[in-house]
């Protein structure tokens, strides 16, 4: 009885309205997604002639695409670069967030503001000076960043940092101090407190941070287009190159393009759906409290 009451009380829209909203939005989300899936299993000629229902399913696009564009290499590159960059961003941001959440010091405010402020800078603005900087590093220190994995990787790491720091400051700030004090009483230092107490408790926050950081690299076309070579090119760049080669062609291969799009979407959508339950609670517990 009581249980039903709680359920009822959390309802924020009248039943039919709530249902209508869910259905309408759900369908609007579905149409382009289904269209993408539909095109990806349609033969190219069917796409052009305008038949919507593919019959029979034409899986050949999924076979062809691997030879039409260097997808396999791009896929591996993207997974590696994006994954390492996001994990790095979580580590670096968690380290920085600990003192930022716990202490007041002279550069705290400027640091937080410049971290957040850097999100306001347009990415194409950063690209050219970054390229010049990387080539300087190449000629003076002998570190080759352009064309290597490391160049794009640290770029994604740095671009993920502002949001990562902000999320982690919020999350660590919500962890009670008493727990660390137990470590100090036992004679442990701050590093120990961070590794033994804060880090395990901050895992949900770290997962959220990791998810948002993944998107930075997985979605980027701009930096990877300039900072990578054929061997290190990411999936997003492969796709955008592929779509540009289809421009002005008499028979653009939209069905193959959509097959490639599906392949590029599966890993990131899967990661999000698996970790979805952390997303909203993690955001709610920390940064947005």
């Amino acid at each position: 009885m009581r249980r039903r009451q709680v359920r009822q009380a959390e309802r924020l829209l009248p039943g039919p309205v709530s249902l209508a909203v869910k259905v309408v939005i759900g369908v609007i989300v579905a149409v382009p997604v289904l269209y993408m899936l539909d095109l990806s299993v349609s033969p190219q000629l069917a796409v052009l002639s305008g038949s919507i229902i593919p019959s029979p399913f034409y899986w050949q696009n999924y076979v062809n695409i691997w030879s039409a564009a260097p997808l396999a290499q791009g896929f591996a590159n993207s997974a590696f670069v994006t994954g390492v960059a996001a994990a790095g961003a979580v580590c670096v941001a968690s380290m920085a967030a600990y003192p930022l959440a716990r202490y007041r010091f002279a550069v705290r405010i400027p640091l937080l503001y410049s971290a957040i402020g850097s999100q306001l800078l347009p990415a194409p603005m950063i690209l050219l000076p970054l390229f010049v900087l990387f080539s300087l590093a190449q000629s003076f220190i002998g570190i080759s960043l352009i064309g290597s994995y490391w160049g794009v990787m640290i770029t994604y790491l740095a671009f993920a940092l502002p949001l990562a720091i902000w999320l982690m400051v919020g999350y660590i700030g919500s962890i009670p101090r008493e727990l660390e004090e137990a470590v100090f009483v036992d004679g442990g230092g701050h590093l120990q407190a961070l590794v033994r107490v804060i880090a395990p408790l901050a895992v949900p926050g770290m997962i959220v941070t990791f998810l948002f950081s993944l998107l930075v690299g997985w979605n980027d076309v701009l930096f990877a287009a300039v900072l990578t070579t054929n061997a290190t090119r990411t999936l997003a760049v492969d796709l955008s190159t592929f779509i540009q080669t289809q421009e002005g062609v008499a028979l653009p291969q939209y069905s193959e393009l959509m097959a490639a799009a599906v392949i590029a979407s599966i890993p990131i959508v899967a990661v999000y759906l698996v970790l979805q339950r952390y997303l909203i609670t993690g955001l709610g517990a920390g940064a947005l409290k």
Binding site: V29, L121, P122, A123, A158, L215, A261
Partner: protein
């Protein structure tokens, strides 16, 4: 209060401030210094010929800025045009996507069967890579043969509209962006709703409050900050979107979708006039500062650590 706590003997030892060094260094080297360099070269004549010793390029003063704002560039009209396109794009998208995200969030606040599924489904547009969204957008609005085109001709509406060229390109881009980004608001509002104590709803129920009263007196006060934050973040996100106009349309894109990031890109990497691109970038930063300052205030980072 906090400083008293810091001096408190409960916290033994030196504060581990060095932990911020890696983050600060990475941001400074990879983001802030390049931005400063860009602002610097916007006053000089750095082109592909003078790039190798850009610090010796001829000084131009404000000439690049004047050129940017008054003369047509490689993509379309002046940067003033790009500014106009960007601003209308960001403002329209945010004001349409925000109510959708809010409605979606309140519609799944209560428990129901399949809730997890619906919540996951709602995130899909946001999680799809930007390139994929742009490609699907292009396929949808293709003429002839795209789904929109076919749907319009089926209902015998004014068919044969070119969505990927001319002024309609703006609306096509707008629709795709709204589709892709409303889940951001949905996510943030949902997170805000987590913090609402369910006792409040129970109390409202006991008092016989209706849905409108619950939304007005419980939900809105609780999520006001989050909602503001999501509006600002969305606006900044739309202003910075490069991938959608770059991938969805031809190269260079039609003038109607010549947003600032695209304009900067084409001036820098196709026309190779870096200083002009830098000047446009600086103009853009000034524009972004408007929502940006609101953002900085809304994040409340300036506040001292809690407790």
């Amino acid at each position: 209060m906090e400083s008293r706590l810091n001096r408190n003997k409960g916290f033994i030892g030196r504060r581990p401030l060095w932990l911020v060094v890696p983050a600060a260094a990475l941001l400074a080297i990879l983001v802030l210094i390049p931005a400063v360099v860009d602002a610097y070269i916007s006053f000089f004549q750095v082109t592909i010929d003078t790039l190798h010793d850009w610090y010796q390029a001829p000084f131009l003063g404000l000439k690049n800025y004047i050129q940017a704002l008054t003369q047509s560039d490689i993509v379309a009209g002046s940067a003033a045009h790009a500014l106009w396109v960007s601003a209308s794009f960001a403002i329209l998208t945010t004001s349409i996507a925000t109510p959708i995200g809010f409605l979606a969030a309140v519609s799944v606040n209560h428990r129901f069967r399949g809730r997890g599924l619906v919540r996951g489904w709602f995130l899909v547009p946001y999680v799809l890579p930007g390139v994929v969204t742009a490609m699907v957008g292009r396929a949808l609005f293709l003429n002839p043969g795209g789904l929109v085109d076919r749907a319009l001709s089926t209902i015998h509406a004014n068919g044969n509209i070119l969505w990927l060229a001319g002024n309609n390109a703006f609306w096509a881009m707008l629709m795709v962006e709204i589709w892709a980004v409303w889940p951001l608001t949905y996510m943030m509002v949902s997170a805000g709703l987590v913090s609402v104590d369910s006792d409040l709803y129970d109390a409202a129920e006991v008092d016989g409050a209706g849905y409108v009263a619950k939304l007005r007196h419980i939900v809105l006060p609780h999520i006001r900050n989050v909602l503001l934050l999501s509006i600002v973040i969305s606006t900044i996100f739309h202003l910075g979107n490069f991938t959608l106009p770059f991938v969805m349309f031809s190269t260079p894109p039609p003038p109607a979708v010549d947003v600032l990031p695209v304009d900067i890109y084409f001036n820098a990497f196709v026309a190779n006039y870096y200083s002009l691109a830098a000047a446009i970038a600086v103009i853009m930063v000034v524009v972004v500062l408007v929502p940006g300052i609101v953002y900085l205030r809304a994040t409340r980072l300036g506040q001292a650590p809690q407790q």
